[in-house]
Structure formats: structure tokens, C-alpha cells
Symmetry: C2
Subunit: 308 residues, 2 copies
């Protein structure tokens, strides 16, 4: 337990968000952010993170080595033992991140995880799924990400690739390829760009700089084409959630990311299709909007190393 101070670090493509959490006060005692630059040698970014942790620890009156734990979320695949595997978002190759951080800080309790998985853990600890032990979190942004927590633990899986929900096949007839090279992935219909694509290609909505938000706003105002677009989005996402339930039957679904700012219309429409497509025993699994926003990653990173 030590002094009950934990670092939660959320490494993103442009910034690294860092929080120092006190378990005694049950709150973040310091928050800060440093830039991250893509394709830099990983040792430069890791060195900057460690330097900042040392500063933040000093301000809290402790040496970095006295900190009780360090949790880190990474925008790429991370194995269960904390190895980062070729993180395209950072331009990293394979990096044994937890070992490096342990060596540089003298802290033994260090964990790393994929950022979407870590965010799901954050929502379980302090957010929309507080009190649950399992959750599947879907993040609807530029892409579609997924985080899986089973029995209170992040599921990393083979090559750290568990939770790649955006690449579940939902449309076997699709002719266009997804970024992953396959066809008919959920991401092609449920990401911000996917929703805009549906509106443009299937319903000829052709406003300049059309966004997913515009479509949800129009749907809320009763626009027919926008409603049909939302229906198609919801059918694909609802079916995907139902397929996920058939595999691991989680206690709850959480929907987050920029697109989820559209609010309850997302939950209502998606769960309509979810229920229609689910077996009786799975039909009552609830879904909620994510609560923690950008803080989910830091909370989840801390949760990885707290109370172990």
C-alpha cells in the first residue's frame, strides 16, 4: 500500500495525460499533460514521462521510487504482461514498457494496457459501470474501439488484440475495404466517418462538412433520412453488441467516444436492435453512456495497479 499515491498515465497520439491519485483522499492530487510526438524514439517519450513523474512526485513530497504504483494506457496493442506491440499511433515497434518503467523509477507495481481496455476499467471503477465486475465498452470516434473487462481485469488476449470490436464483421456483402483490409467491419458504419458515409451513400445527404453530430441533430429534429441513417448505424452496432454478448455475456455495455455525445438517442436506438437480435437470456444486459470522458484512461490506469 505504501503512501497510497498512484500515477495514472494516458498516452495519446498528441498528448500524454498524467494524474497523481491519492488513495487516502480518493482523489487526483495533481493533473498535467505533456506533448507526445509520433515516430520519435520511444525512449525520448518514456524519458519525458518519467521526468514529469519525478517532478509531480517531488511536488507531492515523495520520491518517485516511493510511489505505490504506476498504470499506463497506450493507443495500441499491449500484452497481458505489459509489452507494447508495434504501436502505429506512436510509431513504436515492440517495447517492453513495464520493465523499462520499473527500471527507470524503482517502482515494482507497474502495469500497461491498451487505452480502450484501460478506459473500460476506468468506467467500471469510477464511471458508468461503477459496481460492475464485467463491462464491454465501445468507443465511437474517428474509428470504433473496444475495451473488455472480465471479472475486474482487462482482457488483453492474443497479441494484445482483444476488444477489437470495430473489426467485427457486420456486413458480409460490403464491397469497400476497411482500414484493416477486411470488408464489412463495424467501424465502416458506426464510426463518425462511417455514419457520415451511410448518410451520403445510401440517402444522398450531401451537406458540406457533414458530421455525425449533424446527422444525430437532424434525426432528433425528425428528419427522415437522418433517422434512417441512425437506424442503419444502430442496427449494425446493436447486432455487434448482441454477438459480443453471445461470446462473453458481460454485465453491462458502455458506449463512449465523440459520437456518444449525441446522448440517449444512441442507447435507445442501439438497444432496440440489440434486443431484437439477442437470445432471451441476454436481452436484459443494460447499456449506458460513458461518464468519465477523457479521464477514463487515467482512472483505469490507476485501477490497474491499485489494490493488488
Amino acid at each position: 500500500m505504501g503512501n497510497g499515491l498512484y500515477f495514472g498515465i494516458d498516452v495519446g497520439g498528441t498528448a500524454v495525460k498524467m494524474s497523481l491519485y491519492s488513495s487516502k483522499e480518493d482523489s487526483m492530487v495533481e493533473n498535467c499533460s505533456i506533448p507526445s510526438i509520433k515516430n520519435e524514439d520511444e525512449n525520448i517519450l518514456i524519458g519525458n514521462i518519467v521526468r514529469k513523474m519525478k517532478e509531480m512526485s517531488a511536488e507531492a513530497g515523495v520520491s518517485i521510487s516511493e510511489v505505490s504504483g504506476i498504470g499506463i494506457g497506450i493507443p495500441g496493442p499491449v500484452t497481458a504482461d505489459g509489452k507494447v506491440l508495434k504501436c502505429a499511433n506512436l510509431g513504436w515497434d515492440i517495447v517492453d514498457l513495464t520493465t523499462i518503467i520499473k527500471e527507470l523509477t524503482g517502482v515494482e507495481n507497474v502495469e500497461a494496457g491498451n487505452d480502450a481496455n484501460v478506459a473500460a476499467l476506468g468506467e467500471i471503477w469510477k464511471g458508468a459501470a461503477a459496481g460492475y465486475k464485467d463491462a464491454v465498452m465501445v468507443t465511437l470516434g474517428t474509428g470504433v474501439g473496444g475495451g473488455i473487462v472480465i471479472d475486474g481485469h482487462i482482457r488483453a488476449g492474443h497479441r494484445g488484440a482483444a476488444g477489437e470490436i470495430g473489426h467485427i464483421t457486420v456486413e458480409p456483402e460490403e464491397s469497400e475495404a476497411c482500414g484493416c483490409g477486411c470488408r464489412g467491419c463495424l467501424e465502416q458504419y458506426a464510426s463518425a466517418t462511417g455514419i457520415v458515409d451511410i448518410a451520403k451513400k445510401r440517402f444522398g445527404i450531401c451537406k458540406e462538412n457533414l458530421t455525425a453530430k449533424d446527422i444525430f441533430d437532424a434525426a432528433k429534429a425528425g428528419d427522415e433520412k437522418a433517422l434512417k441513417t441512425v437506424d442503419i448505424f444502430a442496427a449494425y452496432l446493436g447486432t455487434a453488441l448482441s454477438n459480443i454478448a453471445n461470446v462473453i455475456a458481460p454485465e453491462i455495455f458502455i458506449i463512449g467516444g465523440g459520437v456518444s455525445a449525441a446522448g440517449n438517442i444512441i442507447i435507445e436506438k442501439v438497444m432496440e436492435y440489440y434486443e431484437k437480435n439477442s437470445m432471451y437470456a441476454l436481452r436484459d444486459i443494460p447499456a449506458r453512456l460513458a461518464k468519465l470522458g477523457n479521464m477514463a484512461g487515467m482512472y483505469g490506469a490507476i485501477k490497474m495497479v491499485i489494490g493488488r
Copy 2:
């Protein structure tokens, strides 16, 4: 640890298979089977099972209460804490099976699980996935069942419904309903009857009493329609496995059940579509044919309670 004697019990719709395993000898010391009758009061069947366990223990020279553990597989949903939820195959309502068995035997170490999940655990312990910690097992029989083991433990999930792989939606355009009420479930194409349906409906193969075995035999002999039928079966199952991998990224897939007697043609064809449809990081997850056959359930039941 005690005397190292464990009961593994596999409750089926027509028979209950029971084995007594000795961890000291690492082998089954007794096997037997008693009939199970559907829609009987559950207490009758449970009473018969306990009576038989007492007999078998006595033959092994111990009293039932001295046995080190009892594991039970049930052909229906079972929660993580061993409650059987409305088992249609036995005509049971909700039965707190582990508590009842504990009371009737005096044995504390009792676990129950869904038979497909338990079989997957058996294959991990002594079968096709020996040495692995995770596995997803698909059982291709009259229906399509699924078993999920994560980090060495059965995943029961919400209402014991994890691993309902047969009800993953793989064909959104399907017009006919599956037994579960939804449309386009994997079971409609990958079960023994589903494969025959593909051959009849899409390729007009109309031999009397056509079986899945006939179709695989014809495919092996080069028959074009049979090969096309197998291709469609394999595309649906391969896509479903790929979707499962996107969720939990298991270490290995196991394919069992009566249909899998067709042999390696199943693995080859299914994995061809699996790889085509999978993200790079997931493409090398292997698949193997199940090894233990009818013994998987008993081995898995024992594994639930051994070494805990």
C-alpha cells in the same frame, strides 16, 4: 487435497456419465453411466447421482464425504456460482445445484458449469488444447454449442449465457428464423442440419436422409455442389470465429461435435475463411479438432474442482 479422488459428472438429456478420478494415479479409476429422464423432478435425478457417487466411493474404499471434489456439467445455462437456470434439456427450473450437492454429500469443493464450457475446460486440461490457458471450443452437432475458457477458468457470464456461439448473427439477410427466434444465427448454417439445409436449398442436393457426413464425404471426393456447400458452411463459421477473436482473442480454437468427425477438411476450410476475415494480429490463432470426444465433459468437470 485429501485423498485426491474427484468426481467428474456429465449430465446429458438421456444419460449421466460419471467418472471417479484419482489425482495420485492421474487417471479415471471408475466410470459409469445412469439414465437421466427429462421432466422428472430434479431431486430424483440429483438423488440418483448422489446414490451412485456413494456406491462408487465405497468401491474405492472411501466415504463420499471424504472425496476431494465434485464437478458437474449441465446441458443448460449455469451461473458462475453454480446455479442452473431453467435447463430446458432436463425440464428443470432454477436449481441451486452446488448447494444441494454440498448438503447431500458433505463435500465442500463442488462446482457446476454449462456442459459446453466444461468440455472446453476438459480439452484444455487433457485434450486438443493441453498447455493453453484460453480456448474457445465450438461444438458442431444437432445445434452449435460453444465453450469459453479464459485464463484457465470457465466464463459463465450473465445468466450463464456466455459461449452461445451458435447464436452469433452471421447472415443479416436471412429470412428464416432460428430456434432462438432470431434470424441468421450461425447454428442455421454450421450445425449438422444447417449444413444439410445449405446443400438442399442452395444447391438442390436432394438425396433421401442426406446427412452432413454425406456432404463432407462428397466434398472430399471432389463433388462440386458439396464443395460449394462446405465453402458456405466454412465462410460462416470462419467469420464467426474471427468475430469471436475480435472480442476475446483466445489462444486457440477447438472444433468438436459430431460434424467435426469429417476431420481436417473442417479445420482447413474454416481457417481459410477465418484468416481472410481477420485482422493481422489475430490471423495466426490456431484451430484444432477436439480430442476427448465424450470424455471431455468428465475431464472438464474434474478440472473445475482440482487444484483449487
